[in-house]
């Protein structure tokens, strides 16, 4: 599904006719990415498994109506992302109102943490604890920023693909990505600054 990778070819006619062997090949090719998307969006293996199953059940049912306006992988990502967002909204409805105002609010995303932690060694930046903090920080983003960030900076999709998947403009993708990155920078700065060697 990643843009940088060779996408496998599928016999679309067979897939749309319900050919089980071809669908099994399709599931085998894309289940890893769908599962990871669920994990990054929901941070819970059981919830990610539910998203994985629901995505392929919906895909199987919807395949006969697939019109080829986007690639199969982008189409599948759209189903998976919608499933994850629906799940989040059901589970944490209180965040929806916060989320809906993202597009309109001016927001104050001015950098507050001005600490240069880039000098920390790689093993510190990428330690097991630091990696857990990277995931935890993504969970603190509002849904609409989180979805864009996961698709663009974790799954490596293009701006165009992300816009197609979320049914928003490319300009909106760029704006949300910028805001997500700045918010994560703040969170990571707070985390890593505590791990800076003391100069005292």
């Amino acid at each position: 599904m990643n843009t940088g990778e060779q996408q496998p070819d599928f016999d679309l006619v067979a897939l749309q006719a319900g050919d089980r062997a071809e669908f099994a090949r399709f599931v085998d090719a894309y289940s890893g990415q769908v599962y990871r998307l669920g994990l990054k969006m929901l941070q819970n293996p059981q919830d990610a498994e539910d998203i994985l199953q629901e995505t392929f059940i919906k895909a199987y049912k919807a395949l006969p109506n697939f019109e080829g306006r986007s690639s199969l992988s982008t189409w599948l990502y759209r189903i998976a992302t919608n499933e994850a967002l629906m799940f989040l909204r059901k589970k944490r409805p209180e965040q929806v109102s916060v989320d809906e105002s993202i597009e309109n609010e001016d927001g104050d995303d001015r950098p507050r943490q001005i600490i240069d932690w880039c000098c920390l060694p790689e093993h510190e930046l990428m330690s097991t604890e630091s990696r857990a903090n990277l995931d935890h920080s993504v969970q603190q983003l509002p849904y609409s920023l989180k979805a864009v960030f996961v698709l663009r900076d974790i799954e490596g999709l293009s701006t165009r693909q992300t816009a197609d998947i979320l049914d928003i403009s490319e300009a909106a993708v760029k704006t949300r990505l910028s805001r997500a990155r700045f918010r994560l920078r703040e969170l990571l700065s707070a985390y890593y600054s505590e791990r800076m060697p003391s100069t005292a």
């Binding site: 289940s31 890893g32 990871r36 293996p45 498994e49 199987y60 995303d109 990428m126 990277l134 990505l177």
Partner: protein, 90 residues
């Protein structure tokens, strides 16, 4: 955010372009403007460097974590999809 002797509005104005700048998605004249500004603004240099590092860390960890479905999860998926007979044993 800047403490230096240039106009603070420059910082706010340029911050909105930094994400695109890091992606190499900005026109040359604006890139040059950012680079000129950063040469004189230590705070903005820190913001750019740490923003770039933030993005790098997510890219790097994603590249290292090969997307894979645990065996038991895969088995339950294939069963739910009635595809168990296509499950390949390693």
């Amino acid at each position: 955010m800047c403490k230096h002797n240039h106009d603070h509005r420059d910082c706010s104005y340029l911050l909105s372009s930094l994400s695109a700048y890091i992606d190499g998605d900005l026109e040359e004249t604006l890139c040059e403007e950012i680079e000129r500004h950063v040469a004189d603004c230590e705070d903005c240099r820190v913001v750019i460097d740490t923003l770039e590092k933030t993005i790098y860390l997510y890219h790097a960890t994603a590249a290292q974590e090969q997307p894979a479905v645990p065996k038991d999860v895969k088995e339950r998926l294939y069963k739910r999809l009635d595809l168990s007979d296509f499950l390949q044993n390693p």
